[in-house]
Structures are given as structure tokens and as C-alpha cells.
């Protein structure tokens, strides 16, 4: 019994010492190439690579956590994980609830994808993921009808099976899907610029952690590794930082 107690005390002690250094990174795992689950069942993608590099530069131990997009912000503020790194665009509405680091992806275009060239976007039924800037944009378009889905995958499926005429999503997400669709899907209309770039979300009270990640992002911007990483995952034509 005594040994057990000592062991428990040692465990508790070592836990307190390491406390400051473990950061839990929350992501969705359903939005390639930003983040997705690979064949091994691990979280993979641009944000996985970026997050691991940022943690290394900031001297933090990071652990990855998967969470549903719908409840990704409530679970952050109630402390189930410490950051959101899930392709989340910086918007004023979100900024009221949580804080963002500086952008690690510059403001990128969103695009419409449809199954035929002659979709009239001004009166079409347009799919978007719930709680995204794209959904908000479609809702403000006037003539178009918004249908929302819980996952990005379902928005594409809705266009394929005719439930929606078009889908609005981040262009970087749509490019691989269009290219691999054997001509079934195509870009229509003009791209739209939405949001203030993609940043990492943190609790408003977590200013220290925010400063650490901001510094790490700055150092990656300065030595060019961030731009190289963006090109690796999003293609040579992707928007990069100057």
C-alpha cells in the first residue's frame, strides 16, 4: 500500500512538472488536404505537418485529438483540448468567442463546383458545410438556396446525386476532387474571396500559448518553410505569403 502511495505521488509530481508542455490539438480529420485520416488511421495532412513543426519550434509536446466540426468551438472553450487547427478561417464572428493566431494560410479563394456547366448560381440550390464562412456567404447571396451538411464529404455527395446544383467550399479542398472526378464535376462561376485567412483557434484567456504559436508561425514564414509546405500540399499555384 505504501509503495503504491509513493508511486502515485511520484506520478502526480511528474504530471505537474510536465503540465505546461503538453498541448492538445483539436482537428476535424475530414477535410483533405488540410486534415484527414490516413490509411493507418492517423491524422494526416497539411495541418498535421504544420502543427508538428510549430510544436517543435515552440518547444511543446503536442497530442492530436479528433472532434466533430459542429462542436469544435464549444469543446475548445470548455477545455477538452487547447487549440483548433482545422482549416478554420478567421472571421469577426468567431473572433468574439475564441482567439486566433496570425494566419498560417493566406486568404484563399472559395469556389463553386457543379455537375454541369450551365448551372445558374444566382438561383441554384447550393450545398455548404454547416457553420462555415461558405454557408454564411450562400445565405447572403439572395436568389440561391442554401442546403447545409455536417461534413464536407456530404456536400460533394449532394452535388453528385443531384440534391444540390452546386457546392461552395475552399478551392484547395475542391481541386483534388474535381481533378479525380473524370470530368463529372467542374468549377463554375467566379471564385469568391472569403475570410481573413486560416489561423489556429485558441481560448481567449490562453494568451501565453497564443504568443508561442504566433512566434513559431512568424519564424516559419521568415525562413520560407511555411510557403514550401503550402506548395507541397496545395500545389504550385496556391496562394503563399510574400
Amino acid at each position: 500500500m505504501k509503495k503504491l502511495l509513493i508511486g502515485a505521488a511520484a506520478l502526480a509530481l511528474s504530471a505537474t512538472m510536465a503540465l505546461a508542455d503538453t498541448v492538445r490539438m483539436g482537428t476535424e480529420g475530414a477535410y483533405p488536404p488540410y486534415n484527414f485520416i490516413n490509411d493507418k488511421g492517423e491524422i494526416d495532412g497539411f495541418e498535421r505537418e504544420l502543427g508538428d513543426e510549430l510544436c517543435k519550434r515552440a518547444g511543446l509536446t503536442c497530442e492530436w485529438v479528433k472532434n466533430d466540426w459542429d462542436s469544435i468551438i464549444p469543446n475548445l472553450v470548455s477545455g477538452n483540448y487547447d487549440t483548433i487547427i482545422a482549416g478554420m478561417s478567421i472571421t469577426p464572428e468567431r473572433d468574439e468567442v475564441i482567439d486566433f493566431t496570425q494566419a498560417y494560410i493566406p486568404p484563399a479563394a472559395s469556389a463553386f463546383v457543379a455537375a454541369s456547366k450551365d448551372v445558374d448560381l444566382s438561383s441554384a440550390v447550393i450545398a455548404a458545410q454547416t457553420g462555415t464562412i461558405q454557408a454564411a456567404h450562400v445565405a447572403s447571396m439572395g436568389g440561391a438556396t442554401l442546403v447545409e451538411f455536417a461534413t464536407p464529404e456530404e456536400t460533394i455527395a449532394a452535388v453528385r446525386n443531384g440534391e444540390a446544383d452546386a457546392v461552395l467550399a475552399d478551392k484547395d479542398y475542391l481541386i483534388p476532387i474535381v481533378e479525380d472526378s473524370n470530368g463529372e464535376l467542374m468549377f463554375v462561376g467566379d471564385d469568391v474571396a472569403l475570410g481573413g485567412g486560416v489561423g489556429m483557434g485558441l481560448r481567449e484567456s490562453d494568451t501565453e500559448l497564443k504568443a508561442k504559436f504566433d512566434a513559431a508561425i512568424t519564424s516559419m514564414k521568415e525562413d520560407g518553410t511555411l510557403n514550401a509546405m503550402i506548395k507541397k500540399w496545395f500545389g504550385e499555384d496556391a496562394a503563399v505569403f510574400d
Partner: protein, 294 residues
């Protein structure tokens, strides 16, 4: 898994599937079946215990206990499951953390609620921020069991409450005539006889519980429906060695077969239990058994 899996694009159909169905994500899919079965195996008895306590409280002669029991049944039965799962779990988790915070960090001066944030001292976090991922998952699983048990316990309490009243009054009067105390009458006469009245209602609850497990994903536990949706979704060759079109239909078909098979097995088992419980009872079923034997 197999040695020939390094480049699946060159394989014939059979080998391709043998690799595809044994890769890491599929292993997690299979594991989630065990998770769901484990959850059911633990939740069902716990919920039954909650129900039994609830029913006992609801028929207690001590009035406040009676109100508590009836209040529990009424409130939990009245709130939609999904609202309960979204609200209650976060509240329960925050309550645990708040209690630990009060005990472990008495000299913490900063407020716990800061705007939208809920912040307790790092030592009071549940589980600790430093704990490995499996501890977090076990904790989420534990919260899920409590929540499921509370919700289904309320329904079970109502069923048991009704079953206790259905036991023929004559049985209880006879017990009293023999000089049994109230407690003896309850445990020796009422409880053994009530199950036959409770079982149809309880078996309904069990069937509903089996199918309620997708609510698990709301609690951050990756259940079978989550994985079926994730695995069935279109996979482009850029991010996987196993590209395929939208196969969700096939995955959900598999789930359909699983659920149907599971409920069928449950029905068979419940029928057997019913036959046993009916034995020697003053019900139509019991009478039929007696005549058949005689």
C-alpha cells in the same frame, strides 16, 4: 497487414480488398464495434440499477424521496435525448472539474468562468492535460456510460414502477397475513414477481438502447456509424493508397445487417428469459405453461 500490400494499385480485386479491409482505419472500425458492444454490456445493468432505485424512490412512503424519484422520471423522460447528451455531459464534466478545483487548488484566485472560457487550475483538469490519449478516451467512455444509464434508467424506472403495481394485490395481502414486514413483502414477494410484468417494457428499452449508440459521437467517441461514414466517403488517390468512389451505401448496408442480427439475437434471448420468468406465475402465460405440463 500482408506483405504484398505495399502498392495496392497493382493488385487484383481479391487481394486489393484483403489489403483494404485490414488497413489501420479498418482496424479502428472493427474496434469501434467492440466499443459499442462494451458500452451496451456495461450500460444495461447500470441503467437497470438506476431504474430500480428510481422506482423504489418513486413509491417510497417518505414524501421527499417520492418526489425525487418521480421528479427524476419526469424530467429525464421529458428532455430530448440529443439535448441531454449535448448539455448534460459538458455540465457533468465541468461539475467534476469544479469540485476537484475546489479541493486541489484552494488558493487559486482567478475566476473559473472568463467570458466563454471554463478554466480550472491545471491539476484539477479531468483527465489531466498530460494524460495519454487513452485516458481521455476512457474518461469520455465513462461519461457516456453515466449519461446513457441516467437516460435509460429513467425509462426503466417508469417500467419497473408500473410492474411493481401490477403484481396482484392478493399476493401482498397473503404475505401480510403470514406476518411478513413491509420490507420482507417487498423483497420476497413483490420483486420476484414483478419481472414478468416488467420484461416487455424493458426489452423495448434494450432495443432502443442498441440503436441509440450513434449518439456516442456527440460525446467524442468514434462509434460504428461515424466510421462507416468516414470510411465510405469518396477517397481520392492523392491522400490514400485505396481510392474508391462513394461507398457509404455498402458500409451502411453492413451496419444494417449488424443491427438486424444483433436485435434478432436479443429477441431470442429475451424470449427465453420471458419463458423462465413466466414459470409458476399467476398470469395467462404461467397458466398456459401449467396446463401444457399437466
Amino acid at each position: 497487414m500482408f506483405s504484398y500490400c505495399s502498392d495496392p494499385s497493382t493488385l487484383d480485386t481479391f487481394r486489393w480488398f484483403s489489403c483494404y479491409l485490414t488497413n489501420g482505419v479498418h482496424m479502428q472500425f472493427y474496434l469501434s464495434f467492440l466499443k459499442v458492444l462494451g458500452l451496451l454490456a456495461i450500460t444495461a445493468p447500470v441503467a437497470l440499477a438506476f431504474g430500480f432505485l428510481g422506482a423504489m424512490a418513486a413509491r417510497a412512503r417518505f414524501a421527499p424521496l417520492g418526489w425525487l424519484g418521480r421528479g427524476y422520471i419526469a424530467v429525464v423522460r421529458g428532455v430530448p435525448d440529443i439535448a441531454f447528451f449535448l448539455f448534460f455531459v459538458i455540465a457533468l464534466d465541468q461539475m467534476f472539474e469544479w469540485l476537484r478545483h475546489k479541493i486541489k487548488c484552494p488558493d487559486w484566485t482567478e475566476p473559473i468562468r472568463r467570458g466563454n472560457d471554463f478554466l480550472v487550475c491545471p491539476q484539477a483538469k479531468l483527465p489531466l492535460g498530460t494524460s495519454p490519449e487513452w485516458v481521455h478516451e476512457a474518461y469520455a467512455f465513462f461519461l457516456a456510460i453515466i449519461t446513457f444509464a441516467l437516460v435509460f434508467g429513467a425509462f426503466a424506472a417508469n417500467v419497473l414502477f408500473g410492474a411493481m403495481r401490477a403484481v396482484p394485490r392478493a399476493q401482498l395481502e397473503t404475505a401480510e397475513a403470514y406476518g411478513m414486514t413491509r420490507r420482507q413483502t417487498f423483497w420476497r414477494i413483490l420483486v420476484p414477481q414483478m419481472w414478468v410484468y416488467a420484461l416487455p417494457g424493458l426489452s423495448n428499452l434494450w432495443m432502443v438502447l442498441i440503436k441509440a449508440t450513434p449518439l456516442l459521437f456527440l460525446l467524442g467517441i468514434e462509434d460504428i456509424v461515424y466510421w462507416a461514414r468516414e470510411l465510405g466517403g469518396t477517397k481520392t488517390p492523392r491522400f490514400t493508397d485505396f481510392p474508391h468512389p462513394d461507398w457509404r451505401m455498402w458500409y451502411f448496408l453492413f451496419l444494417l445487417v449488424f443491427y438486424l442480427a444483433f436485435t434478432r439475437v436479443s429477441e431470442i434471448v429475451l424470449d427465453r428469459v420471458m419463458r423462465r420468468l413466466t414459470h409458476g406465475q399467476a398470469t395467462m402465460g404461467g397458466e398456459a405453461q401449467r396446463k401444457a405440463a399437466a
